[in-house]
């Protein structure tokens, strides 16, 4: 028998009150943990996915929307830009690298992105199976797309128009899987990658849906021409792409290029760093609200623990007096009450951190195709030690007054009062 064990016995002697307090504290701390994890990982992930992309150029509209649709593939694209203009921009001396993107279709909700090999290179993505696309309608699947649709190398599928599920299917020509990417832990996992030519041809078919059989046969040749692997694809007729991912040649470009594009072309330029900072600022309101709620819960649980200890102390004044008569010192009684508060909150803290990770796991598994899907639920942060510290602080503060009461309890008076 020792003080720790005695405190524990007192805690388990009142399972309902103890349970309620652990639950309250756990909930507050769980919210904190979830916020910590999401904030940390989302920011890290979003920064990592935008690495190497200094500027996104696309059709005029919301710059945030342009960034979200072209880098993170979550929002709808702002529209298309003429390829001629894009090519002109690529030749600018301030531009170091350019990756063109053509969006427009999806397969079971996974976006089909027309691009070139440079896009994969910029993410240092490796294939786990097969080879990269060489002809129109060859596609490479992201790891998660392959797992969820169970498509394998050599399989064929029809894309649907639009970037979300539920639109009509392109029935004229099927895509053919030539390769599957190794797991990347970024946006590539959720993408179907192909050449820009594939995207163009799909939509040519659609606009010429009722073309004659003769034209279709002639078109067959087009499907066998090898596609462009880097830079812009060549085309005889004016073509459109969705956006350009640009990297700067020198810091000067950051000042001149966006202004030049926004004022002198029909396109707009958006900086991922700037737009994401703006987004996090907007989200910040919600985050502060949740944080506030977490602190309110912490406060309530602190009061709950205080009341529980204080009430139990009233019932236990006789116990305390008895403990003193069998040789316990005043300090040992103080320690007993403090230990009780701290033990309660430590359990609450571990519950909270555990709950937090489980909540996050649920959040991720119910949103497999959204931005949160790449977050790791079971990654532990050093900041979570702060959660433990908060909990212990709550326990300490809540048990100070009861402990002081225990210190001052007069044994003789307690024992005389029957």
């Amino acid at each position: 028998m020792n003080l720790l064990k005695l405190s524990w016995k007192y805690l388990t002697f009142r399972p309902l009150s103890t349970g309620l307090n652990v639950l309250l504290l756990g909930l507050g701390l769980a919210i904190m943990t979830v916020l910590l994890l999401i904030q940390d990982q989302l920011e890290k992930k979003m920064t990592a996915e935008a690495a190497g992309i200094d500027l996104v150029v696309g059709a005029k509209g919301s710059p945030l929307q342009l960034i979200l649709s072209s880098i993170y593939h979550v929002d709808f694209p702002t529209g298309n830009i003429p390829m001629e203009e894009a090519e002109k921009l690529a030749k600018n001396r301030l531009v170091k690298g350019v990756i063109p993107l053509a969006l427009g279709d999806n397969f079971q909700g996974f976006r089909i992105i027309g691009t070139n090999y440079d896009y994969l290179k910029s993410y240092q993505a490796d294939l786990s199976d097969g080879k990269l696309w060489e002809k129109p309608f060859d596609v490479v699947l992201g790891h998660e797309v392959a797992t969820q649709t169970s498509l394998k190398n050599g399989d064929e599928f029809a894309g649907s128009h639009g970037i979300s599920v539920g639109s009509h299917d392109h029935e004229q020509h099927n895509y053919k899987v030539t390769g599957i990417l190794a797991p990347q832990g970024n946006v590539l996992d959720r993408l179907v990658l192909t050449s820009i030519e594939s995207v163009w041809l799909t939509h040519d078919e659609q606009s010429e849906g009722d073309s004659t059989a003769m034209e279709s046969i002639q078109d067959q040749d087009v499907f066998d021409i090898p596609v462009t692997q880097t830079g812009f694809p060549s085309s005889e007729i004016p073509r459109e792409i969705t956006s350009l991912l640009i990297s700067y040649r020198n810091p000067m470009a950051a000042i001149q290029l966006p202004r030049m594009i926004n004022s002198r072309t029909v396109m707009q330029a958006a900086s991922p760093a700037f737009e994401m900072a703006r987004l996090f600022e907007l989200l910040g309101v919600g985050v502060s609200l949740l944080k506030g709620l977490a602190f309110v819960l912490l406060g309530i649980s602190g009061i709950g623990i205080f009341i529980a200890l204080y009430n139990s102390l009233k019932e236990r004044k006789y116990d305390l007096a008895i403990l003193r008569t069998i040789g316990a010192t005043q300090f040992q009684l103080v320690l007993l009450i403090l230990l009780e508060g701290l033990m309660l909150t430590t359990i609450g803290a571990f519950f909270g951190i555990g709950f937090g990770h489980i909540f996050l796991q649920l959040l991720i598994s119910s949103n497999e195709q959204s931005v949160v899907s790449g977050i790791q639920a079971w990654e532990f942060l050093p900041e979570e030690l702060w959660v433990l510290t908060y909990a212990l602080a709550v326990g300490l503060i809540a048990s100070l007054i009861p402990a002081w009461t225990a210190y001052k309890t007069s044994i003789a008076r307690q024992l005389t009062r029957v």
Partner: protein
């Protein structure tokens, strides 16, 4: 002389001063202090237990003068040298019978006692691991006696140990206290208004009669 008290006086706030008779007890001796309620007999017991400080006078147990001890040292001294049996058992409800006794050895830092032997002597060995909430009144009182005896104190103080018991149980509790105190060589003081106790002892004083 094991226990000695001299010229003890105490005043409760707003009440008249209480004076207590001097007592002297040898090891193994027993004393009954009789008195009506309000006569100050519980105060006398609290003084002898070192739970309250006297206004004047001196108490000495086994060569230690109470007034020379700091409050912390007094707590430790009481834990080791004085066993107290209360009117009601007042066991720690969150603990089992055995744990209640272990607690007493923990706080007095006295680890050498054979708890099971003591429990079997008091006839409650089979209850060792049960919750104290399941005990009958008589069993609970025996556990509280075991708790007072566990550290082999020099002095056993009992405050109205029989008041809530019937004749049979009262007599067995008194005999138990008397026998155990003699066995470990402790001085025994029973404070009571219960006249039934008197018949078991030759040595008694009455207080609060003047």
């Amino acid at each position: 002389m094991l226990l000695q008290s001299k010229n003890l006086r105490f005043t409760h706030p707003g009440q008249s001063r209480l004076t207590f008779p001097d007592i002297e007890l040898q090891s193994g001796e027993a004393l009954v202090i009789l008195g009506k309620s309000g006569s100050g007999k519980t105060t006398f017991l609290n003084l002898l237990a070192g739970l309250v400080q006297p206004e004047a006078g001196e108490i000495q147990l086994a060569g230690t003068v109470f007034s020379s001890l700091t409050p912390k040292k007094m707590d430790q001294f009481r834990g080791k040298q004085i066993g107290i049996v209360f009117q009601k058992p007042h066991l720690i409800a969150a603990l089992s019978v055995l744990e209640n006794l272990q607690l007493a050895t923990y706080f007095s830092k006295n680890k050498s006692q054979d708890l099971n032997e003591l429990l079997s002597e008091l006839g409650i060995l089979d209850k060792a691991n049960s919750s104290v909430l399941t005990l009958s009144e008589g069993e609970a009182q025996r556990v509280s006696i075991a708790r007072a005896l566990i550290n082999q104190p020099k002095l056993i103080l009992a405050d109205e140990p029989t008041s809530s018991l019937d004749d049979v149980h009262a007599s067995s509790v008194v005999n138990l206290l008397k026998y155990q105190a003699e066995r470990i060589g402790a001085a025994l003081i029973i404070v009571t208004h219960d006249q039934r106790v008197k018949s078991h002892f030759s040595n008694f004083i009455e207080i609060g009669t003047q």
